[in-house]
């Protein structure tokens, strides 16, 4: 691992600035983002930084959103830069002791046997030069890490996809991707928590709610969590699907999907 990470400050209007550590999905960049996120949260807690509305960590950058009526860029930027330098030093150690989140095992009904959640399985298999069954086996063979949440409430960007399955996103995005679609793009995989437009390859459907305002942390999957997929048949999928309204309404997320031996933390 090289230590030569640096950062630059990007303008994101008069309510935000972005500290960018790099341009790609890389674990060491994510570690720097995580370290800076934690450091700035402490700086807000101690009163060193004020006027901050929220911070948004991504694979490779941290965006600090602030209220221009409560603070100014001139006040915020030097403090952020100082902590970003410190984060680069501490992130190397942090990478080794990164937050080990919970491990989830989520059911997936692959292919388009039910609904239309996996319409791209055959096409992706062809593009990868693999039989569809091998695409399914490979997709479910890996323990993924949640890198970040974004795009839609509860949408978790997970990696890394087995290299054999890595393909750029579709050239023609769909206007309507059904909620629950399990999808891949580049080196990443994700589950669409809500119906939305989308350009990822759709391989299957996951009958697990990913976000509910009724749960303490609202999102099921959090950065640092790990996820394994388990192939289920249409009958099991339908049984689980029938329980979804109850899980959304419950006061806690469906911990039944924690992998064996995972305690509720």
């Amino acid at each position: 691992m090289t230590l030569s990470i640096s950062f630059r400050i990007l303008n994101a209007g008069d309510t935000a600035l972005t500290i960018e550590f790099g341009e790609r999905v890389e674990r060491r960049l994510l570690a720097a983002v995580t370290a800076l996120d934690a450091a700035l949260a402490r700086a807000i807690g101690s009163g060193e930084l004020h006027g901050i509305v929220e911070m948004v960590p991504t694979f490779r950058s941290l965006t600090v959103i602030y209220d221009p009526l409560l603070s100014t860029r001139a006040e915020i930027e030097p403090i952020v830069i100082r902590h970003a330098h410190a984060a680069l030093c501490s992130s190397v150690a942090m990478d080794r002791n990164a937050r080990r989140g919970r491990v989830w095992q989520l059911p997936v009904c692959y292919g388009d046997e039910i609904a239309a959640c996996g319409p791209d399985l055959d096409e992706l298999a062809q593009a990868c030069g693999l039989p569809p069954a091998e695409v399914i086996r490979l997709h479910a063979s890996v323990t993924y890490e949640v890198y970040m949440l974004g795009f839609l409430p509860g949408f978790a960007f997970m990696g890394d996809l087995p290299e054999l399955l890595s393909r750029p996103r579709r050239s023609e995005p769909r206007l309507r991707v059904p909620a629950g679609s399990v999808a891949t793009a580049g080196t990443l995989t994700a589950i669409y928590p809500w119906e939305s437009p989308g350009g990822w390859h759709l391989l299957g459907a996951c009958p697990v709610p990913l976000f509910s305002a009724n749960w303490p942390q609202a999102a099921l999957l959090l950065p640092g969590d790990r996820v394994r997929f388990r192939a289920v048949d249409a009958a099991e999928y339908r049984l689980l699907l029938a329980e979804m309204p109850e899980w959304y309404a419950a006061a806690r997320p469906p911990l039944a999907f924690l992998a064996d031996g995972e305690a509720d933390q």
């Binding site: 303008n11 994101a12 209007g13 960018e20 974004g150 795009f151 839609l152 409430p153």
Partner: protein, 370 residues
């Protein structure tokens, strides 16, 4: 005391919005909230609600609401006029004022122009909050009533209205100056010619405009070939102007996604985002760059203007027709479609037209601005 307001028709699109739900972007949850927060605050101030109370935000026009068994006080903000209809007749009124609906009376809002966003604030409205806000974010079923857009037959619990009616002495000016932006975060993904084009050419709000974003028609922008047309997703904010591969800019608004993989050429400053977000399709705009310091000054100036408007709310009874005429002469509420003028076209004629306050019946065409 409780009263009930029924949605007879939401018009094109209506939802409950307050000042939004900050703090959850790291979970993928947009801020949502009013597209034009100053007007939401004005509407609430006109009936004595807390400025951040939820109100009905409606797009395009055509919203119709009705008081059921008790009187309901509400306030109108936006570029439109309206008609109160009852079995006994009809009276026309302009925006930027409060009004009391008697039981059974319905308020018909006209078409919005040149801005596409209007607000109805409701005295004593009661909506549960989710994640700290009552704002509707329909894509994930958050906020509002069951997370949905307002639909015919929906009933809202409000306070019973009895307080006096008030109005803004001076309606907000329609500012047609260029929309100010800060370049970035990814201006370096665009050719110098495209950056210059973005800042010099006229763009037009396209019909693809909703609460999530607004596509702009105009010259296509080119990405630098050595940089490409995609980035590894990073955070967006309301006001981010992202440019997908084909080159048509999209301004992200209150319900916009929290992260995205398209390069963002610029970000609309906070003082100007509401007036851009409120513009109707077809309106023309230009962009101009400013410094961070200038944007911060503009934010403060904008907040000060809002405070001055709110401080100038006066009882309706104190304002004579002459004052109203002075307002119109000063062009302070220009561009409003006259609901009563539209009446014959949209609504069946009512013989008993109670035209108690219509000093501008001769002026009924929306004026193109911007």
């Amino acid at each position: 005391m409780n009263a009930v307001l029924e949605i007879v028709s939401p018009g094109a699109l209506a939802s409950l919005q307050d000042l939004g739900r900050p703090g959850f972007r790291r979970l993928g949850v947009p801020r949502s909230g009013a597209l034009q927060p100053d007007w939401l605050r004005l509407a609430n101030a006109l009936i004595g609600n807390a400025e951040d109370a939820p109100a009905i935000e409606f797009l395009v026009g055509g919203l119709v609401v009705r008081a059921l068994d008790s009187p309901v006080q509400l306030a109108l903000a936006g570029n439109f006029s309206a008609a109160v209809r009852s079995a006994g007749g009809r009276r026309c009124l302009d925006s930027w004022r409060s009004v009391t609906l008697a039981p059974g009376e319905a308020l018909h809002c006209g078409m919005l122009s040149p801005c596409r966003v209007g607000y109805l604030a409701l005295l004593g409205i009661c909506v549960p909050k989710q994640l700290g806000s009552a704002s509707t974010y329909a894509p994930a079923g958050l906020g509002g009533l069951d997370g949905r857009w307002l639909s015919p037959g929906v009933r809202l619990q409000v306070g019973e209205g009895s307080a006096g009616e008030q109005m803004l002495r001076t309606a907000p000016l329609l500012d047609t100056a260029p929309i100010r932006v800060l370049l970035g975060p990814q201006e370096d993904y665009f050719t110098a010619a495209s950056q210059a084009c973005f800042l010099s050419e006229v763009y037009q709000v396209s019909s693809a405009a909703d609460r999530m974003g607004m596509r702009l028609d105009g010259p296509m922008l080119r990405h630098r070939s050595d940089k490409g047309v995609e980035i590894t997703s990073d955070a967006t904010v309301p006001g981010s102007i992202q440019v997908p591969a084909q080159g048509q800019p999209i301004v992200l608004l209150a319900d916009g996604q929290t992260a995205g993989g398209y390069p963002k050429i610029a970000t609309v400053i906070s003082a100007d985002l509401p007036r851009l977000a409120a513009l109707a399709p077809g309106q023309r705009i230009r962009f101009a760059t400013v410094s961070v310091a200038a944007a911060e000054l503009a934010a403060r100036a904008s907040a000060a203007r809002l405070r001055a408007l709110i401080a100038d709310i006066v009882p309706l009874a104190a304002v004579g027709v002459l004052d109203l005429q002075a307002m119109y002469a000063a062009n302070l509420v220009s561009g409003v479609v006259d609901a009563c003028a539209l009446d014959s076209a949209i609504w069946p004629a009512t013989p008993a037209q109670e035209d108690w306050q219509n000093p501008r019946s001769s002026r009924n065409s929306p004026r193109e601005k911007g």
